[in-house]
Amino acid sequence: MSPVDFHGDYREPYGPLQVWRWLTGRMWSVERAFERAKTSGRAVDDTRLRIFFVLAIFALAFVTLGLRATRAALFAPIEAAGREAAPLAGARADLVDRDGRLLAVDLTHYGLYLDPREIWDTNEIRRKLLPVFPKLAPERLERALHAGRREYLGGGLTPQEMQAIHDLGLPGISFEEEAKRVYPLGATAEHLIGFTDAGGRGLSGAEKALDAQIHEAAAAGEPVQLAMDLRVQAALQDELLKASDKFGTLNAMGMVVNIRTGEILAMSSLPDYDPNAPGKSPIPNLTNHEAASVYELGSVFKAFTIAMGLDTGVVNIDSTFDVHAPLMSGGRLIHDFDKGDSTLALWQVFTHSSNIGAAKLALMAGPDRMTTYFRRFGLLKAAPSEMYESARPILPRKFDDDTLAHMAFGQGISVSPLALATGYSALMNGGVYRPLTVLKVAPGHEAKGVQVISEQTSYTMLQLMRMNAHTDPRGSGHKADALGLRVGGKTGSAQKPENGHYGKNNVSSFVAVFPTDGPINADRYLVVVTLDSPHATKDSFGLITAGWNAAPTAGAVIDRIAPFLGVQRVITADSPTPNGPGAKPSDIAE
């Protein structure tokens, strides 16, 4: 005997081999039982045992099948019955505004089909079908009648139209359901919402920007919620329409942004179109000029130049500039609109909108600082929005002193108003550059951004904006100073380049921010109004500068939207602006 117990309590682990051994062992044992019965002279028992064994196996199989069948019949999920309606191909989710108001919806329409093999009286089809379905071209019907197979005649039939054709009782006519995108608000926010093709593919606006997301939401049965506030949108669009009529603009555009969250609350571009029938509008009307067109926007750029100067420490708010004489740069003289100034402090360069002062500041800072900050404000690239239309800027070929001097007051660089709004948001929100979004931002959530200037610089810029619209009597933005809403703003009036040189027309812009009081990271709203080629009116004393057209338009917008945004009026003794309605050109700088 071995001194060591090699077996002891050791047991082999269970595995397929062990199971197989156990099974064959039991089979062998049964077989041996039959043999034992046979050898012991009880052959009948042997047969009985075999029959019993087969019966038991069959019984077990039937019971198993029965249980499985019962389970399948009683507890199968409903979906397995195949009754759930599959979503139509290309289905899109509803688009709703931030308060759930419907903006775009897929409605079931019907496609009309004709199978000529089932028709024996083609004249009856021609006679009855064409009057009820006038959209159908007779040539198309003729082709279908001679096609020899089932043909598609047309789509987009409303349930009423479908019923009217169905009631004709014509042979060979059939219908198939199809989804059609409908925009119940027509030409309201159409550039922001966009439109789709017949196959349910987004072609512009949010429809294109969020195409994949809209399809996914449709599969989940959820709507897609935009940041837009329909009330704000309607007010903006209405005021732009009035301004467009009053000043006879080529295009008028505007947007409203919550600069804390980066949400685009409203965006409008005129002339407009009906997204339910975009093909019926002239092609230029389909362009969202707010995002897809670039302009030299003029003095609104001074805010970026001054913020750069303050943030880099090249200047402070009281630094002075000699502006008594025009500045020669790049073979062109840089003048100030507001002649008569000799020395201006930096804050006056802003409120008097001094081109000379801004150009001198750019020259002091140099190309590196200027390009670095303009890049930080997103002015050297397309605005990083979901919107497909976001246009790339037109930039100078080189950034030398001459081009920088002109860029400092918004000449020689063309950007979209959307890019301008994105840059201004960073200027006014504490210095954080973040892409503007058409999607609603969940409460408490804040999109990531990049700190491009200090909070202190941002706060100073906010105060400068307020001074320009209210405190400084010679500020250019007084006509936007809606009563009690603490509005700040900056005008920009740029001559339009036409045929290789600057022409008589201009582009007037106004960037307004309100309320300018409160913590720097509070909810604050930016209103950007841009009028392309406005004309002078009696009210504007023959002027076409932004202080006389874009600024009052922005003021009217703010007046109407403040209650919707929860901004309370604070009316004090100094609330009425000194140069509000009724002011004369001599009172207001440009």
Binding site: L55, V105, A482
Partner: protein, 136 residues
């Protein structure tokens, strides 16, 4: 004889009791499954009908929502309110908040100071009734 062997040895009209028992069990099982399936099929059809109705209603609700959105289009409402009711955006100076309502009500209740009586050279003509309110 144990009950088990009785089950296999007892014959009724030539059939073993075990075989008969198995036959009845099988029949009961088949019938049970058949009725269960038939019932489940009926229920599934009913659920399908209800699903169809829900889908139909959802289409109608969507259609009504779209129609409602169209009718409530802000520009349309503004146009109609101006055309038929003469409404317009309220002037900022006439806006107030709830805390100021008491002061406004108090000011409205305070009687206006009596107007100075000026002796006219000629007796004044009686004012038409419709213009009485104009004194305030």
């Amino acid at each position: 004889m144990t009950p088990f062997t009785f089950l296999f040895q007892k014959r009724i009209r030539g059939f073993r009791l075990a075989e008969l028992a198995a036959f009845f069990c099988l029949t009961a099982l088949v019938l049970g499954v058949y009725f269960s399936k038939a019932h489940a099929g009926g229920e599934t059809a009913r659920i399908g009908d209800v699903d169809d109705q829900i889908t139909e209603e959802q289409h109608r609700v969507r259609l009504l929502n779209a129609e409602l959105a169209h009718l409530e289009e802000p520009a349309r409402i503004e146009r109609l309110s101006q055309q038929y009711l003469g409404l317009a955006p309220i002037d900022a100076k006439r806006e107030t908040n709830s805390t100021s309502l008491m002061e406004i009500a108090r000011a409205a209740d305070t009687p206006a100071p009596p107007a100075k009586v000026v002796k006219a050279a000629t007796p004044p003509k009686p004012a038409p009734a419709a213009s009485e309110g104009a004194v305030r």
